[in-house]
Amino acid sequence: MADEVTAELKQKIIDYLKAVSKAKNKEVAKDIGVDKHVVDKAIAELSKEGVIEYIYLGASFIKLKDA
């Protein structure tokens, strides 16, 4: 289903974040071509799993958690 968070989608997001220093959810969704609401859900799960973290630089962004 297009509106379900899959392991494949999570991996796509991780790969995307590997290439950038930080991003907004909107940019991730646009660049990997997946509906923003699903990406939001996937990012929430990744944050609960401790894979990504949030950074505040005048606005909030996400990034991969430093190993």
Binding site: K48, L57, G58, A59
Partner: protein
């Protein structure tokens, strides 16, 4: 990892029984004396609320002191207002008197109701903020010491809401307060080129400037930015996105004073506060220049406004030209707006006073 996304406790668990019983059934209230409200319910029940001033920045032992009072007189409940006052709600006048005795022992004032001056809504200031152009808690303390009698009485034409914001981000309803004290910078950012390279994204930094004053550094070998100082109005938006551009300056920073805003829809619609003093220096610990101006404005208002007239309504009736005359505050070129919606403030009539 523990639980997440549980949200705050349900307010219903926090309500005293008498509030639960009369929820949505209140009929009317009165204000028998400063700091005390009496609410009467359709059920015939009545409650007394004792409103108490707090410095907002408090220790956990202060909160425990409040709890002791609430345990003794209020069925183990209390509440806070949107202006940081503490409210003890109880079911009899005798208990309300007891609360007043107890809080007096704690050194806390009873008041903040009706046509007086309630607690000052304020921000963090030098106590905890990286972008503060002034302190907040200290300014509040200095101003409230001076206006203390207005907190504990109800003798003004209408209530006067005061707010302090330690920079123009204004993390409080400062822009719509009867009296507002706002921390301002007067010097452009000091750019640390090495830190810009390490900590900032140059395109984001350039975009952050509302007047387009930030450009790439003219030397392509220097990966940094420059600021056109003639375009900078010191808003510090760039500093928020790029920590390598601080504006804080001991001489440049100080406070501005704004007058006549309101949020209530009663009588005149809500309105913005307007600048009456563009700059006063930071003079801790007691900011005497600021306290003097605030006191002067309150006194002129108290003597000139008609009953129930909010400060902004009073100024609209008498005219700003009269306001400056009565208060003796000088009108300068800084008072004339030159930002986004400036022309709306220019006078387009021959009607004015001398």
């Amino acid at each position: 990892m523990g639980r997440t996304d549980i949200g705050p406790p349900d307010y219903q668990e926090m309500l005293p029984d008498i509030i639960k019983k009369n929820y949505g059934k209140w009929k009317y209230h009165e204000n028998p004396r400063p700091g005390v409200l009496r609410h009467v319910s359709e059920t015939g029940d009545e409650i007394y609320t004792v409103r108490v001033g707090s410095p907002r920045l408090v220790s956990i032992d202060f909160i425990r002191d409040l709890c002791d009072v609430a345990d003794k007189y209020c069925d183990g409940h209390l509440r806070f207002t949107s202006r940081y006052n503490v409210e003890f709600i109880t079911d009899s006048k005798a208990k309300a008197d007891g609360i007043m005795e107890e809080v007096k022992k704690l050194g806390l004032p009873v008041g903040g109701t009706g046509n007086g001056i309630s607690n000052i809504v304020h921000t963090q200031g030098w106590i905890h903020c990286h972008s503060a152009a002034t302190d907040a808690s200290g300014l509040v303390k200095a101003v409230m010491d001076e206006l203390y009698d207005y907190f504990t009485s109800m003798k003004l034409p209408a209530y006067v809401r005061i707010a302090v914001a330690c920079c123009i981000n204004m993390c409080g309803a400062v822009h719509c307060s009867d009296l507002a004290i706002v921390g301002v910078h007067r010097r452009p950012p000091k750019i640390d080129n090495e830190k810009v390279l390490a900590q900032c994204e140059i395109p984001t930094t350039i975009q952050s400037c509302p007047t387009g004053a930030i450009r790439r550094h003219p030397d392509p070998n220097v990966k940094s930015v420059v600021v056109r100082e003639d375009l900078c109005m010191y808003c510090a938006n760039c500093f928020t996105v790029c920590p390598a551009m601080p504006l804080a300056d001991p001489v440049g920073d100080g406070v501005a004073i704004y007058v006549g805003g309101k949020v209530s829809n009663a009588r005149k619609p809500p309105m913005f506060s307007r600048m009456v003093v563009p700059f006063l220096p930071n003079n801790p610990p007691r900011w005497p220049e600021v306290v003097d101006v605030i006191k002067k404005i309150v006194e002129v208002y108290a003597g000139s406004a008609r009953k129930y007239e909010r400060m902004g309504e009073w100024v609209e009736r008498i005219g700003w030209e009269k306001f400056f005359k009565l208060t003796g505050i000088p009108f300068t070129e800084q008072h004339i707006d030159d930002f986004t919606h400036a022309v709306e403030t220019y006078r387009t009539t021959t009607q004015f006073k001398w």
